[in-house]
């Protein structure tokens, strides 16, 4: 215990997360300065907010008594449209993504094909679905067709990126083994590559269906079909009872799909 007495008086403190003090204090001071500046540009309008709070009372009241029946038909077709859009674009996206994904795997194809496919993936992943939906609505008109195209485009980016990464990381020994039997490229892919990436792809398909349901629920706000357009209309008409019913339906749908896709994924893998 002699050491404890010599050490008494020195206080231990945990080591800082960022070792370099200049970087540490620079980040802290810079962060605070940015926050002050950003908050000052927020132009907070107190009068508008207080008027809005009164409105939020009505909104909250409407949420406590949602009206499912008055526009029940519209809600039902809207939900059906969203689910159909999500289902069809998940499958279509997967089908298109298979060649793109193989094309984006560095270990299977020549460089120009690789660059083209990677470019396509980057494009699809950078823009929010909603932005792509607006452009497709202008091109293909209002309705679920534009929505299906949007979600398919988004799904292609998602699937092919993950598929390409999976393919790049497969066990090369199995590929070697199949190739040494004198198999063709197609046989090599179907017996050595596909079995290695397939189980994860099934899980990812369900996961993407989950994402597509969420997106299909809102694409209608910009006119691309689905329940979102019904929601937008009811909010514009101050029909908050119906709007709250729609939002509750969306939440229920999203939760049901998330839970069941999670359950199936656990069973399959």
């Amino acid at each position: 215990m002699a050491q404890a007495t010599t050490l008494s008086g020195r206080k231990w403190s945990p080591p800082p997360l960022i070792k370099n003090p200049w970087v540490r204090w620079g980040l802290i001071v810079g962060g605070i300065l940015y926050l002050i500046f950003a908050l000052s540009t927020l132009n907070f309008d107190a009068a508008r907010v207080s008027r809005g709070l009164e409105r939020s009372g009505r909104l909250l009241l409407a949420f406590l008594q949602p009206d499912f029946t008055t526009r029940g038909n519209l809600i039902f077709t809207g939900m059906m449209e969203s689910v159909t859009m999500a289902a069809i674009s998940t499958v279509a996206g997967f089908i298109v993504a298979v060649p793109v994904g193989f094309g984006a795997a560095r270990n299977l194809v020549p460089v120009p094909v690789y660059l083209f496919c990677r470019g396509l993936i980057a494009l699809s992943r950078t823009f929010q679905e909603v932005i792509i939906a607006i452009l497709f609505v202008v091109m293909f008109g209002f309705g679920p067709f534009a929505g299906v195209l949007t979600l398919t485009f988004g799904s292609v980016g998602f699937f092919s990126k993950l598929l390409a990464e999976d393919i790049e990381e497969i066990d090369a020994v199995q590929v070697e083994a199949i190739r040494s039997t004198g198999a063709s490229w197609l046989q090599m892919v179907s017996y050595a590559v596909v079995p290695q990436v397939l189980p994860r792809m099934i899980g990812l398909t369900l996961y993407r269906f989950d994402i597509n349901i969420r997106e299909a629920a809102i694409l209608g706000i910009v006119g691309a079909g689905g329940i979102g357009s019904t929601l937008n209309t009811s909010l514009r008409r101050y029909d908050y009872d119906t709007a709250s019913a729609i939002i509750l339906m969306i939440i229920a749908l999203v939760m049901v799909v998330e839970l069941s896709s999670g359950w199936i994924r656990k069973r399959v893998q």
């Binding site: 540009t41 289902a87 607006i134 452009l135 202008v138 629920a217």
Partner: protein, 270 residues
């Protein structure tokens, strides 16, 4: 691996008969469902518009290229607003989601009932898209950056809360035992045993979500919640395609930069 035996020859097969049947039934069912879906969508599509799409698309491209570069002078402010929405939204979400996550994690929650309430907050906020939050908040707070910031923050709470509480549940229990055995209080255990183990994960999740939020904050303006989406909406409504193409380019570049920053920051954290 089933083996089929016929005339004394053994042939290797991928699946046995029952598995094959189930597989065929699955594909048939999927095909039927897809057919029904396609029919449903087709009935709700105005095909004359769809057939017109190549011409429309060509016109959009022709009018959109080259972008109207001098419009950039009007884009700096909306771009700054977009960054503000994403960053302040992430900061606010951090402030809310960290305590919620600690209440939701099995090993740090004070009570089972509290845990379920926290989990409900996480699942509930995650199920509502930021665009729906924005629609509601614009009604309450009026159009502007504030509504967008709150929409982004509320949407992120569920995402961040989920990843953070999963991180907390995966910590190593030995340091916790060690600190507790010295007679430390609950707050001391939290700050000396748990916090150091989860802080890198929390910061990583935050930076990752910031990157996603920047992407999402480009669209909340479409429903009036501030940022570059407002300009995008206005330009599309007035069919100024050369402005639209510039805005899309600006979004592409800023998302690219934010992804780079986020990747670098997460690299530095690990």
């Amino acid at each position: 691996m089933p083996v089929l035996e016929s005339n004394g020859m053994k042939t290797w097969q991928w699946r046995n008969q029952k598995q094959t049947l189930i597989e065929y039934a699955f594909w048939l069912l999927l095909l039927l469902v897809m057919f029904a879906c396609a029919k449903f969508i087709a009935e709700r599509t105005t095909w004359s518009f769809v057939l017109d799409a190549p011409r429309q698309g060509g016109e959009m491209l022709a009018r959109g290229i080259p972008p109207r570069w001098d419009y950039m002078s009007q884009l700096w402010r909306p771009l700054w607003d977009t960054l503000t929405i994403a960053t302040l939204g992430t900061v606010l979400s951090f402030v809310i989601s960290v305590p919620v996550a600690f209440l939701a994690a099995r090993n740090t929650t004070p009570h089972l009932l509290v845990r379920y309430i926290a989990l409900f907050i996480i699942v509930g906020t995650r199920s509502v898209n930021s665009l729906i939050w924005a629609l509601i908040l614009v009604i309450i707070l009026g159009p502007g950056v504030l509504a967008g910031t709150l929409a982004i923050a509320l949407r992120s709470v569920g995402f961040m809360g989920k990843l953070i509480y999963e991180g907390i549940e995966e910590i190593n229990e030995e340091p916790v035992e060690a600190i507790r055995s010295t007679g430390a209080s609950g707050a001391q255990v939290l700050s000396y045993a748990i916090w150091p183990q989860v802080i890198t994960n929390i910061l990583g999740v935050t930076v990752y979500r910031w990157d996603i939020n920047l992407r999402e904050s480009t669209v909340v303006g479409l429903v009036g919640a501030g940022g570059i989406g407002l300009q995008l909406d206005a330009s599309i409504n007035t069919l100024r395609w050369n402005q639209v193409s510039l805005i899309l380019l600006v979004i592409f570049v800023s998302v690219f930069i934010s992804e780079w920053i986020s990747a670098k920051a997460r690299q530095a954290l690990t």
